[in-house]
Symmetry: C2
Subunit: 220 residues, 2 copies
C-alpha cells in the first residue's frame, strides 16, 4: 500500500493527524507538572518527550503553543522548572484526560483525580501515582520555524524511583517493572513485553543477550 504526498495532502484533517502521529513508532507517555508564579497547578500529558544526551542529562519535548499544553509552556517559562512523570498502566486514563481543555484556574490534578506531590525546595508538582519522576530545570526553548512548535530542553536534576529493584546494576531502568506505558498515534496505550536486551554491537562479534539484576540486590 502506497500513500504519496498528494494523498497525504488530500486527507481530511483528523485522518491526517491520526496517520502522521502513527508514523514515528511507539512514543513515551509522560505527565508534565508545572505551576505558575502564583502557585496555580497544571498537569499535561505529552507524547513527545525524548532523550537528548546523558552528559549533561538533557531531555527534550515538543510543545504546540496553540494546543492544550500552552499553560504548561507558559508556566515553564515563568518558573524555569517542571516535572516529568512516567504514565503507568494504573493511571493511563487519568493521564489522557489531562489533555482536555481545562481553564487555567482549574488544576488538572484535581480534575482527573491524580495527586500532586511536592518535594522540598522544588516548585513544580510531581504526580504521586507515577513510579518514575524527574525534577527538570529549563535550559532552552526554541521555535521550530517549519511549523511554529516549540522545542523545550531541560536538565534532569533529580530522579525519584518508587521501586529500587527497577534500577539495574549497569544503570538501566526496567520500565516494565514500573508498568510504564507506551503510546501510539494520538491515543492508543500499550503495555510491553521484553523481547531481549542486546549487547553493545561490534563489527567482528555476534550479539549476545544481556542479563541484568537490580543494583541493590543481594547478589551484588
Amino acid at each position: 500500500m502506497h500513500i504519496c504526498s498528494a494523498d497525504i495532502e488530500n486527507l481530511d484533517k483528523l485522518t491526517r493527524v491520526n496517520l502522521i502521529n502513527s508514523l514515528s513508532g511507539f512514543k513515551s507517555a509522560n505527565l508534565i507538572g508545572t505551576v505558575d508564579k502564583l502557585g496555580q497547578e497544571n498537569l499535561s500529558i505529552v507524547s513527545s518527550v525524548f532523550h537528548i544526551g546523558a552528559n549533561p542529562p538533557l531531555i527534550g519535548m515538543i510543545i504546540r503553543p496553540h494546543s492544550v499544553p500552552r499553560h504548561t509552556l507558559e508556566n515553564i517559562i515563568e518558573t524555569g522548572v517542571y516535572t516529568i512523570n512516567h504514565v503507568n498502566t494504573e493511571i493511563f486514563a487519568q493521564a489522557h484526560q489531562t489533555s482536555a481543555r481545562y481553564d487555567k484556574h482549574i488544576s488538572e490534578f484535581e480534575a482527573v483525580g491524580l495527586q500532586a506531590e511536592y518535594k522540598i525546595s522544588f516548585k513544580a508538582p510531581f504526580v504521586l501515582q507515577s513510579k518514575l519522576k524527574m525534577a527538570v530545570e529549563l535550559m532552552s526553548t526554541q521555535t521550530i520555524e517549519l511549523n511554529q512548535t516549540e522545542l523545550v530542553i531541560g536538565k534532569i536534576t533529580d530522579i525519584y524511583l518508587e521501586d529500587e529493584l527497577a534500577y539495574c546494576d549497569d544503570g538501566f531502568v526496567d520500565l516494565e517493572r514500573l508498568n510504564t506505558v507506551a503510546l501510539s498515534g494520538l491515543d492508543k496505550y500499550h503495555s510491553t513485553t521484553a523481547i531481549a536486551r542486546l549487547s553493545y554491537a561490534k563489527c567482528d562479534k555476534p550479539l549476545s543477550y544481556l542479563a541484568t539484576s537490580p543494583k541493590n540486590s543481594d547478589s551484588n
Copy 2:
C-alpha cells in the same frame, strides 16, 4: 529511591548513559537508510525519531555527530533524502547490529543481512523487511548548542505499508499488526500489547474506548 544531581554526575560514564537513556520512557526504533552521492549505502538504527507535526507532515530525530550515525548525517546532507523504516520483531537483532562502527565503504545492509529496496525516483534505500517505511526529504538541520547534537527534521513524502489492514478507518495505523517494536534504554527491545484507545478528552464528558477497523475492510 532518590538520585540527585551530584549522584548523576558521580556515576561512571556507562552507568550514566544507561540511566539517562532510560528516563524518557519507551522510544521508537527506526532504521535510517541513506546513500552518499556515489551511491554507497548506509543503514543505522536510531531511537530518537519523533513526531513534530501533521501539516506539513514533519518528523524529527537527534543525531550525535561523533557517534556511529555520522555517515547517516553526512549522507542526508549530501543527498537531501533518507528513509525511515520501522523495526519489527523479526529484524530487531539485525537492526541493533547496524549500530556497530562499520567503515564507510561497508553497507550495513549487507553486513547485518537486511535487504535494500529502491523505489522509482527516490535515491535512498528502504529496508525490504520493514513493514512501515517512509520516504523523507530533509527540511532542516540545527545544532543543539547545549550538547552539540543535531536536530534533523524532514518532511514525509511517501508512506509504504506492507499490510493495508493495519491502516484504520480514521487514519490510525495499528503498529501491533506490523509487529513494530519499542525500545527502552540503549538496548532493550519490547513487543507491545494494546491496553485501549481512548476518545478525545473533553472537560465535561467521560472518556470512552475507541474501536477502529481497517479502512478497506468490507464493513466500510
